[in-house]
């Protein structure tokens, strides 16, 4: 195992992989800082570029980008009081309050140092989980893997919306994704399904045009409507006091570690995602106040309110990679898109990633660690200039993103059909945003559709209906039912 860990490090340090990681870090750094441009959208936009890469290079690029988004997102939250990312909203509460008190440097130092600690703990959790989940995953056959896909969908569908109505929409989105995954020639019988006699649709819907459309187009519309309102605070001296913030991280080291563990745990649970992790960690940090007076400090600029979410935000990445890599069940939207990346590279998450491609899996651990160390070091170096980077007008970004959207989607098949698919799913994505429907279950349905169908086919062909009576399958059915029933219990206990 140690040998594979070492091999993983060497893979990331190869000049090409390392170069792509640096490129990813550069992009993620910027995207995290800019409010309005999300990490998941950028991940979808960058998928077309990985076609020609080796798996290690592709993951160094994508994960390097994704791993730092939460870190730099905290900077915008602290300096401007608007979250750079949805996942760094909790940092606003005390981080921005500290800025208003003239302690921006201290808040930034605390956010960055706790982010680094969180990222390392998440990565260690991922590395430590591999030998533990490996024997479990290796006993799984097609029936268990099919049920895992269903459980993953049930988790994401029922938890990404609130209440019964939210769950209904979650399931509709997930089911729609699964249904669209059946477009194209059926691999078992060769039947052309829902192709409308179009040659383009014979090979099925390509992930890239759909994902780019569903995430990037609504964001472009939103950016357009909001105009140039990103941030317009002049860059100032913010570096002062940053070292104090780093010291705070170690003064409250127990809290930082506990919040990192909360983040990791939430990351492992499919469907909860980073937005939940940060608030749970914030809640835990507030609870750690010993007296009512001390608790009143939270919201007024208590450094612990920055440390908690900062740590949890970054530790969740390592955690959420565990179910994604081991079971093919992503815990969040970004991980669902990353799962799409696996498929583009010809890797199937599951047993193979823990045996044949174990070094690739460990290279992901190292990417998270290295990307965060590099980012935090860069942030400290350029702390004073960071505020200036956010001064980009939304209108200047739109045409560049739009060019990337259409070229990116076109590269998947070099067919004009790709552009129409992007436009269509852009409209669907925009409707979903307007209606408040979750997009993560849709992505998961689309990504898992083909795999799930294949597992279902093998299960019924090999065991007929008897696959339903296998012990692990029965346990997973119970889990799926409990997950689906949860919102009803929740509603009843409230009522």
């Amino acid at each position: 195992m140690l040998e594979a860990l070492w091999e993983g490090l060497l893979l990331v340090l190869q000049w090409k992989a390392f170069g792509f990681m640096l490129l990813g870090i550069g992009l993620g750094f910027w995207v995290g800082l800019l409010p309005g441009l999300g990490g998941a959208t950028t991940l979808a936009l960058m998928l077309p570029f990985i076609y020609t890469m080796q798996p290690v290079e592709a993951f160094a690029f994508l994960l390097g980008m994704h791993a730092v988004v939460a870190t730099t997102g905290d900077i915008t939250s602290v300096l401007f009081g608007l979250p750079g990312e949805a996942t760094s909203a909790a940092t606003v509460v005390d981080g921005y309050a500290m800025t208003k008190k003239g302690e921006a440097g201290r808040a930034l130092g605390a956010a960055l140092a706790s982010s680094l600690v969180g990222a390392i703990i998440g990565a260690v959790a991922l590395a430590a989980a591999i030998p533990i989940v490996r024997p479990l995953v290796l006993t799984f056959g097609s029936p268990e893997l099919f049920m895992l896909a269903i459980v993953g969908l049930a988790f994401i569908a029922s938890l990404s919306g609130e209440g019964t109505r939210g769950m209904l929409r979650g399931f509709l989105a997930g089911g729609f994704g699964l249904l669209l995954a059946t477009i194209g020639q059926d691999p078992q019988s060769g039947t052309a399904r829902f192709t409308f006699d179009s040659l383009y649709l014979m090979q099925g819907l390509d992930l890239v045009p759909v994902l780019v459309g569903i995430f990037a187009i609504p964001e472009i519309i939103d950016l357009f409507v909001r105009g140039s309102s990103i941030a317009n605070i002049p860059p100032g001296k913010v570096a002062k006091g940053a070292w104090e913030g780093v010291k705070d991280t170690f003064r409250h080291f127990g809290l930082t570690i506990r919040c990192s563990l909360i983040g990791t745990f939430i990351g492992v649970m499919p469907g909860l995602g980073g937005s939940v992790a940060q608030w749970l960690a914030y809640g835990h940090a507030a609870q750690s106040a010993k007296t009512p007076e001390e608790r009143k400090q939270f919201g007024q600029g208590d450094v612990r309110g920055v440390l908690g979410p900062g740590a949890a935000n970054n530790s969740k990445e390592g955690g959420s990679l565990i179910p994604t890599v081991a079971f093919g069940v992503p815990g969040s939207t970004s991980m669902a898109i990353l799962l799409g990346g696996f498929l583009l590279l010809g890797l199937v998450p599951g047993p193979d990633m823990l045996t044949k491609h174990i070094a690739v899996t460990y290279s992901m651990v190292w990417t998270i660690v290295l990307a965060n160390i590099i980012t935090v070091a860069l942030c400290f170096l350029f702390l004073d200039r960071l505020a200036g980077i956010t001064n980009v007008k939304g209108h200047r970004l739109i045409p560049i993103i739009l060019v990337l959207v259409f070229i990116g989607s076109y590269t998947s098949n070099s067919h004009y059909g790709d552009l129409l698919v992007t436009l269509f799913f852009g409209a669907v994505g925009y409707l979903m945003v307007l209606a408040g429907w979750p997009r993560a279950p849709f992505v998961l349905g689309l990504v898992l559709g083909k795999i799930a169908e294949n597992y279902l086919y093998i299960s019924t062909a090999r065991y007929e209906a008897a696959w339903l009576t296998r012990p692990v399958v029965l346990v997973l059915i119970v889990v799926a039912v409990l997950v689906i029933a949860y919102p009803f219990f929740q509603a009843r206990s409230r009522g």
């Binding site: 020609t52 109505r165 209904l168 929409r169 399931f171 509709l172 089911g175 729609f176 699964l178 249904l179 669209l180 059946t182 059926d186 078992q188 019988s189 039947t191 399904r193 829902f194 187009i217 472009i220 519309i221 357009f224 409507v225 007008k393 209108h395 200047r396 739109i398 045409p399 560049i400 739009l402 060019v403 259409f406 070229i407 076109y410 590269t411 070099s414 004009y416 552009l419 129409l420 436009l423 852009g426 669907v428 409707l431 979903m432 307007l434 209606a435 408040g436 429907w437 799930a452 169908e453 279902l456 086919y457 019924t460």
Partner: protein, 146 residues
């Protein structure tokens, strides 16, 4: 607006699921199993959501976001340019037009940024990755395509 959007999505899924269930009936069992297993429950769920959205009163105080027609027009316009003139010309024309008229930048800024983005596009996709970008339909029709 949330109500209308939700209703539209529910109807879209209702139609898709209905079509899936209807067509899958004629296929061999192997091909029909999964679309039917997904399509049938989806049909019921979509119907419930459509009725729910239709009957709910959440529309009040929730107007359509203003000014969304213009960004859609730019997006569709760019797509039409790509189809008519091909990627290389469309990227340059769109960048310049957008920066000048939508972002209201001055000419120098618009031209410089357009040149930079076009250079990056050409260098990466054409020179390095050798992606085939077909000439647009208009150029083909006029006989300018190589």
């Amino acid at each position: 607006m949330a109500k209308k959007a939700s209703f539209a999505l529910a109807v879209l899924i209702l139609l898709a699921a209905g079509y899936a269930v209807f067509t899958a009936h004629g296929w061999p069992r192997k091909a029909a199993l999964f679309p039917l297993a997904i399509g049938a429950p989806l049909l019921v769920l979509a119907l419930i959501e459509a009725i729910w959205a239709f009957k709910s009163n959440e529309a009040e105080g929730d107007p359509m976001p203003r000014g969304i027609a213009l960004p859609w027009a730019w997006i569709v316009g760019f797509l039409a340019l790509i189809a008519l003139l091909g990627f290389p010309i469309a990227v340059a024309a769109f960048m310049l037009a957008y920066l000048k008229f939508a972002a209201k930048e001055d000419w120098i800024f618009s031209v410089v940024v357009t040149a930079l983005v076009w250079g990056a596009f050409y260098g990466l996709f054409d020179a390095m990755l050798h992606l085939p970008f077909p000439a647009g339909w208009l150029l083909e029709w006029l006989g300018f395509a190589a």
